[in-house]
Symmetry: C2
Subunit: 386 residues, 2 copies
Amino acid sequence: MRDVAIYGTGMLQVSEHWDLSIIDLAGRAALEALNDAGLERVDALLVTNMLAACHSTGQLNLGARVADWVGLHGVEAYKVEAACGSGGAGFRSAWLAVASGAIDLALVVGVEKMTETPGPEITAGLATAADADFEVPMGPSFVALNALIMRRYQHEYGWPHEAFAGFSINAHANGARNPLARLQDPITAEDYRKARMVSDPINLLDASPVGDGAAAIVLGPAERVFPGGRRPRVLVAGSAAATDSIAIHDRNAPLRLTAAEKSAAAAYAMAGAGPGDIDVFELHDAFSIMSALSLEACGFAEPGQGPRLGDDGSILPGGRIPVASFGGLKARGHPVGATGVYQLAEVTRQLWGEAGACQIDGARVGLAQNIGGSGATIVTHVLRQA
Amino acid sequence: MRDVAIYGTGMLQVSEHWDLSIIDLAGRAALEALNDAGLERVDALLVTNMLAACHSTGQLNLGARVADWVGLHGVEAYKVEAACGSGGAGFRSAWLAVASGAIDLALVVGVEKMTETPGPEITAGLATAADADFEVPMGPSFVALNALIMRRYQHEYGWPHEAFAGFSINAHANGARNPLARLQDPITAEDYRKARMVSDPINLLDASPVGDGAAAIVLGPAERVFPGGRRPRVLVAGSAAATDSIAIHDRNAPLRLTAAEKSAAAAYAMAGAGPGDIDVFELHDAFSIMSALSLEACGFAEPGQGPRLGDDGSILPGGRIPVASFGGLKARGHPVGATGVYQLAEVTRQLWGEAGACQIDGARVGLAQNIGGSGATIVTHVLRQA
């Protein structure tokens, strides 16, 4: 198995892109990544997406369409899906393909177009990430399922709602420095406290906004420099994925992300690293409760103690474990099937020193963790400067 | 890159499974494949599916749900999709994962549940395999797009409709010997001639039936024997995928499957084999015109001459290039996202000598080709006895 590196990245702003189709979005991100890598051609294209089949564009087989748009005519292409964890899963598939030696250069493109679709249809679409037989028929939306987890967590560990404010304040502060963020306005603790309730206890400032967006990454063998291409400077040091039951009531430990614990442990082991080595962590803060659970699962806090890191400055850009450095899902935005690719592209730019106003000083090792469902499919990657 | 072998297969009858959910279907095929392999555990699960998100079950993130049902709790899992080419693409992903060395045992499960969904909704679902911007808005169904190809082919090469009868007669004759086939009734040339028109010139006996079904395959390293496990006897000798424009009007050669030509050439090269070495060919006969085009693309006939092989006995079980040996899409049935896995499981059973009444004598090398869209994403595999 050969070492794999990242050659280039591309990201569009997460926004309402009324003038761009889902194919335009994916294609632009792909071209930006190819241009960043200094390459015109790859051997495989993996598209990651959750909702295009029915909830926005009525287009399956996105791989072939995006390949065609980008000018990668004839190239191998298909889609990888694991609900909101699609991006991480697609990146991992691309990593496996390059690591095998069968593929030299792979392009993974995460894309989602959500804002043209009516809200109720998006809500129904997002609920396909939950258990369609034993959760959805009971009536909860996907937000409501996360709200049940948050409420139980507060009950078990005694945290008031305000204890989660730090995650959202940090994400918005970082997003305000990222021109590609969906939300670029800082928020205060009072804003958080007063925010409109969505699904008690999750309020509007606990929840990430959906949006239209696309991000892309070119992967290739670490030891190669392709003619005209950029020298790869970021290695995929660790890659792992794991699952837990989709239905929360089926889980042995509903307040722990066991799939995150498993995949983080495996990715750390592969990288020969641990929580103490991580300089920046793009976590899956779809809801603020998920920030706490992810930090716990990845070894930065004991179970039940995640909110402390949001409160004591640990997660801030200068802190012990900076998270959501480009705004996270909360402020950069959460175009669901694309999010995992955004996270990995952001960590890459941090390690390249190309994070602009979002730069974390001295970032050499980064962690990205992408969650599908309310904890069902979790993919964890460790990236490292070459 | 290490050699990869097939350890076990599982297939359900393609039928109307009113008593089984999509998760039940996938789970049963998965358990049958694990049992066939003599294994209880794998390292990764790949589910292939096209329509579950909106058109039957409202379930995305199928990987995690199927893993849970099968008792593979915690195992890495996600979905691969390329419309009707999903099965082949998922098998190829599993092959890449095992070839890389990162995954030892991978289980690929193709599943589709279609018969509970009203016909018009299935028709709309299948149309998501076509170009959603430049084909679907013009009104054609997916059958109609194939009908346009068939009509043009007849015009260019002068074939009457009856020239395609041989493909359907052979498929039904073979399906009649396969207890897992959707349609187990032989047909005559007169049946074919009199069949009700669907989308001129495609009649009911040119078209494959949809259905509920699931098939599964366990892949692992060729050189290993796992404790209690079966000794692998079929190698993945060649694997390749390619694309063409989804929209037929965008293709340079609308009457040729260029993605099939590319992926077949690459799979042959990898296997060190050619058309003359193939003893059995599971081709993607979603419509009879696709049989002709696939035979041409894989080197068994000159462009425009495919129907000759349906007419002169070449494709029959005792012929030069037996196709659709278990009934093909036409008679075994076409549960769209599962079909590619059925094809590969069928070729495996042929090479194992476990094809029952469908056995092709002396089959040692087999070809499987799976098509997504009307020619957009095409995945080709060469399997060989170990």
